[in-house]
Amino acid sequence: MNMLKTFRKGGVHPPGYKFSAKKPVEVLPLPKQVVIPISQHIGAPAAPVVAKGDKVLVGQVIAKSAGFVSANIHSSVSGTVVSIGPALDASGYKKTAITISVEGDEWLPEIDRNATLKKDFSLSTEDIIAKINEAGIVGLGGAAFPSHVKLSVPKGKKADVLIINGVECEPYLTADHRLMLEKADELMVGTIILMKALGVKRALIGVENNKRDAIANLKQKASQYKGVEVQALKVKYPQGSEKQLIKALINREVPSGNLPIEVGAVVHNVGTAFAVYEAVQKNKPLVERVVTVTGKDIENASNFVVRIGTPISNLIDKVGMPEGTAKIVSGGPMMGKSLLSTDVPVAKGTSGVLLFSQNDAKRSEEQPSCIRCGKCVSACPMGLEPYLLIRLSQRNMLEKMEQEQILDCIECGSCTFACPANLPLLDYIRLGKTEVGAMVRNRKK
C-alpha cells in the first residue's frame, strides 16, 4: 500500500468515537419556536429587517448582511416574529436574536424543494457569487466564515486549486461523513459550481482514511466530472484546519499571517459545497444543516437535519439525555464550546452536540509543574512553542509573544491535549493572543 498523505508538523491522535457514522441523516421535527441569532458568522452582525409581529416564510431574509464580511440571515421556519432581543448563544453571551413562533411550514415559492439532482452550469462567476452571498452561506465546518468572501479573489492573487474539506478530524462528529455518503452527487455539483466561481480547473476533495466508504463513494462520483479528484488522507488531528489540509494535499505552506489564496488555494467544507449546490441550483438559502448528536453514554447517537435556530434541547430530547450528563459541547471535543444551557439555538456553524458525563467533563485536578518534556512543541501543528507562550502570557509579555508568533496559533488544542502535566496551555495562549491582537490593531491606527 502506498503511503497516505498528511501534514508533516505536529498533530495528535485523539480516539475517534465516531458512534453515529452508520446512522443515516434524519429530519428533526419542527420546533415550536426558533431563536435565530443575527451573528452566526465571522464579521459584522446582520441587520434585522423584520419587526415584532411580522409574518415570515421559510427562506425569507430576516436580517441583511451588514458589510462585505457579513452574511444574510433567513427565517428557517414560517410563522410570526415574537421578539427581537438578547438571547443566549453558544459563546455564553446574550446577543441579539430574532425569535419566531412556528406556524405550519410554508416556504418561499421560488425555492425548489424537489429532490431531483439539478445540473445547470450556465451561470457566470459573478452570478454564482451573488447567489451564494444572497443565500447567507458561511463555512459549515465550524468557523462560519462568509463563503462569498473566500470566493472573491483579491486583485493580484490567483487561485489554481479548490480544496473541498471532507476531513472531519474532530472526534465524535459524523455530519460531513454522512453528507459524503448520502449527498455525493449534490456535493459534486456544488464543487463544480465553486470551481467555476473561482475559475480553477482542479478540485481536490480531502477525506481521512477512517471514512473509507465515503472515499469510495466520492471516487466513483468524481470519475464523472473533469478535474475533481478525491484524496484519502492519513488520520491525524488537526488535518481539517485549512493550512494543514493544504499542506497535506498539495504540499504548500501558507505563510504566517496570510490566507490560503496566497498559495493559490481556496478551501471549502463539504457541508458548504452542499449548501452551495442548494443555493445555486435550488434557490434554497441556508436555513438548515446536519448536526451530529452524540456522546459515550448515548445509545442512539444520530445525525439530524435541523432548522437553524432550533433549541439544542430539542436535539437532546430526541436522543434522550443520559443520566449524569455534566457537560454539553457545541462542535467537536477539541475546538467546540461548552454550553451554559440547552436553550442555546443551533447556528450555521453548529456541527455537533456532544454530551459528556461527569468523568469526562472536568480536567484532571492534578496539575504538577511543567516537566519540560516538549510534548506540546511536538504536538503543535504550527511549529510554535506552547510551553514558552504560556509563560510569556502569564507574565503579559506582549512584544515577546508577538515575536514568538503567538498570532499563528490556530487554537486546535493539540498542546493542551498532549500535556502530561495537564497545564491549561491553550487557555493562556488565547488570553495572550487577544492581548497581542489588540496591541497590533492599535499600532495600525
Partner: protein, 333 residues
Amino acid sequence: MNKLLVVSPSPHVHSGESTKRLMYNVVLALMPALVVSLYYFGVGALSVTLLSIVSCLVFEFLIQKFLLKVKPTISDGSAMVTGLILAFNLPSNLPWWIVIIGALVAIGVGKMSFGGLGRNPFNPALVGRVFLLISFPVQMTSWPLPNPLRMGGPDAVTGATPLSVVKEGLAKGELMSNISDQIPSHMELFMGAMGGSLGEVAAIALLIGFVWLLATRVITWHIPVSILTTIAVFTGILWFINPEANADPLFHLLTGGVMLGAVFMATDYATSPMHPKGMWVYGVGIGLITVIIRVWGAYPEGVSFAILIMNAFVPLINRYIKPSRFGEEVKHG
C-alpha cells in the same frame, strides 16, 4: 434543567498522558540493566540501588515537607528515577554512607534548590555523581570486576575499567594491538562483562530500555542517536587516521557511560532541549565533549561531564534555536 453544566474552554478531551506514566516507564526501561547488573555484580548492585532510591525519596519528602513547606510530590516518580540513575552511576561496592551523601546532593542541591521538578538546569543524578567522584575519588573508581552469579568466589575483585586500561596503555606509548589483549571482546562489552558503574555496563540491556522508551513515546530518538552518531564518527575518524593510537568507534560506544548517558541521562526532560533541532545541537555537543575528554582529557571517561556541560547550554539552545514555524517553507506548485 435545574442542574448546572460544567463550562470550560476547549479542548474537552485529554490524551491521558501523565507525568507519572512517563516517569514509571523510565523506571521500567531501566529494569533490564538492573537485572544484568545483579547477574554480574550480585547483591551489592541491588543494595546500592535500593538505598539510592529510598534516600532520594526521603530527602525529597523531607525537603518539601519541612523546608519548602509544600505538598510532597514523591509519588510522581521523578525522585525514583533520579535515585535509580544515580545508583547506576556508582560502583556496586560503594560504602552505604557515600550513597546517601550522593542522594542528598542529587536531590537537595541538584533538584530542590532550583524549585524541584522541571526547574533544575542540571541533571540531578549527575550532579550527585560528579560530586561524589570529586569528593571520594578512590571509592568512586574502584570498580568491581564482573563475577557472574558469584561463581568466581564471594569476594568482589576490583580492577580498572576497559576505558582506563586503554587510556593508561596509550599514555605509556603502547600500541592498541597490544592493549586489546587486556580488554574484553566487543561481544563481552556488548553484554556488559566489564568493570564499571553498576548500571552502565550492559549496552544490550540499555538498548532494550531505549526501545521501550521509544515505544511508549517517553522520549524521541533524536538525542540518543545524535550522541551515538557523533561519538562513532569522531572516534571513527581518529581510528581511521591511526588505529594503533586510538580505540575503534565500537569500543567507544560500548564502554563507560555512553549508552546509559545517551539514552537515560541526556534525555532528562528538564535539562535537555525542547524540540528536535535543538536536540541535535545538544547531542552533537555531548558527543564531541565526551570524545575530547576521553582522548585528550585527564579522565578516562567524559560522558557525565559532557552532559553537565551541555545542560548548561540548554537555555541558550532553547532561546536561539527555534523549531521551524509553519509557513517558513513556501512552495508553489
